[in-house]
Amino acid sequence: MTQPVFVYSDDLLNYKFSNNHPFNPLRLKLTYELLKTSGILSDDQIVKPRKATDEEIALVHSEEYIHAVKQAGEGTLPETQAANYGLGTEDTPIFSNMHDSSAWLAGATLTAVENVFEGNAKQALSLGGGLHHGFRGKASGFCIYNDSSIAIEYMKQKYNARVLYIDTDAHHGDGVQWAFYDDPNVCTFSIHETGRYLFPGTGNVSEKGAGRGYGLSFNIPVDAFTEDDSWIPILEKAIDEIARFFKPDVIISQNGVDAHYWDPLTHLSVTMKSYKKIPQLVKNAAHKHAEGRWIAVGGGGYDIWRVVPRAWSLIWAEMNGIDLKGPLPKEWLVKWQSRSPVDLAKKWEDSEDLYTPIPRKQEICDKNQLMLTRALQHIRNEQRSV
């Protein structure tokens, strides 16, 4: 009953645009095998995902768009129409059966939700999910169906839940934010590298929600080159204060791990220290404010060899109260080193000299701190006036 569940099957490995696209589902398999060889994932904890139905996908996406994705996957969507749906672009190229592969990912996150709300588990991990850029009628930033948005709407409708969404991907969680921007029952929080250069460009601290959802959208954009020393204390404060303020029934966390120093798509300097801390912070908040209910999904992460398997394994370890440290299992290293273009990391921790010290570190810290203050200002004011 209290044992967490891990949603996984090979059906999730087919969400693949092409061989040289940065989004590579092999990272799921790498993580799965790392957990297996570490001996912390037993077969009875694994739940097979199901495929999301069209009706479930339509909780968030337009029927027109779903139809276009189906057509694209069958090779019958005219090129001129594809562009309107964000399909056939460099970011989201068309691939065979793309509707089915995307529906499996959305279904996996729904499987996690059902396990938590039907009482099988308090916590569930669905690493195939976390496609936070998907919009109602448009694919964007490698994302076709927005599994988290679908799961949130599903939890609202089926279980009448108030949902807190926490997004620690290096990119702004724009798709989820805009889907619930005026919703009083959904609170979204995203910390990310500033959109000054980085995709998608939104996620400004002034984006606070609209209408009845005003004040329930939180954004902390941090500067390029932000390190653990700034990233962690900011998250510590933000997650605790937002969860205390919103009082959710459940937390869903998006665990993109592309803020890592090694990630090729972003410019942050976060290390494994942060990826150990984030699940701890979310789990604590879930226990303090949401009766322990926590659904974790994956997300971005483009150093699939050195970063993603280790960082994602730490989420599962935290769900199980296990402290992973020291060397990685030999068996895993031996099996995958021959296929990796880079030297695999040998330990759970990153070495202290991962990168050369960043000058003006204090300046970056101070600026990030200011963003935190601005993001939480309205709830801190409210607290003071109570």
Partner: protein, 208 residues
């Protein structure tokens, strides 16, 4: 871009015969700071700001009798719907005003506030659409933009906006492009291979 494409069409106006009290109430209710003043036939005859009314109130007191017509500014700066927003921008800058009524055939058909203007600028920079930003420093000679965009075209990536920033010296310009991709790395590599200086997130204080 024409004013009519971006102006706010739901204009709240006030009659010249309304009282100052009415004016203050109206601004509070609609959370606005400027009211175009009109005649019974909806002809524009003036404008009042919250500042005008508050100043009047603090020096004269009774706001229930005096009419808006007696405190309004009659010499109103207006815009035409077919005007270009660039012209409006310089009016906002030169005249230091917060709001410009848009008038056609003596009727108020829209209004542009400083806030509307800012939002339009955000749209012009392309920052409201999912995209990454690339900045390229180029020599101030003709043909540079065409060459840079030709490199991007090869990657089949949409450009959502282009701005040209002046540099401190006349010899250089900065092209600011927003491109519709989460992975601009390959474009940046191509540009660098062609010898362009791509400006990328820089450690604060470091020269780019």
């Amino acid at each position: 871009m024409k004013v009519e494409a971006v102006m706010n069409r739901e204009v709240i106006t006030i009659s010249e015969k309304a009282t100052i009290e009415n004016g203050l109430k109206c601004m509070k209710e609609h959370r606005i700071r400027h009211l175009p003043v009109v005649t019974e036939k909806d002809k524009l005859v003036g404008i009042v700001s919250d500042r005008d009314l508050i100043d009047w109130k603090s020096s004269n007191g009774d706001t229930t009798i005096a009419q808006i017509g007696s405190v309004m500014t009659e010499d109103v700066i207006t815009a035409h719907p077919r005007e270009f927003i660039e012209e409006l921008l310089s009016i906002f800058y030169d005249e230091r005003i917060g709001s410009i009524p848009v008038v056609e055939n003596e009727q108020v058909v829209g209004i542009m506030t400083e806030r509307d203007m800012l939002y339009t600028l955000i749209q012009l920079t392309g920052a409201h659409q999912p995209s990454s930003q690339i900045e390229v420093q180029v020599e101030n000679v003709s043909g540079q933009l065409a060459e840079v965009t030709a490199v991007i075209k090869k990657h089949k990536v949409n450009i959502t906006s282009v701005l040209v920033y002046p540099e401190q010296t006349d010899q250089k310009k900065v092209l600011v492009l927003r491109v519709q991709t989460m992975n601009p790395q390959t474009i940046i590599e191509s540009l660098r291979a062609e010898g362009y200086n791509v400006i990328w997130p820089a450690i604060p204080g470091e020269k780019v």
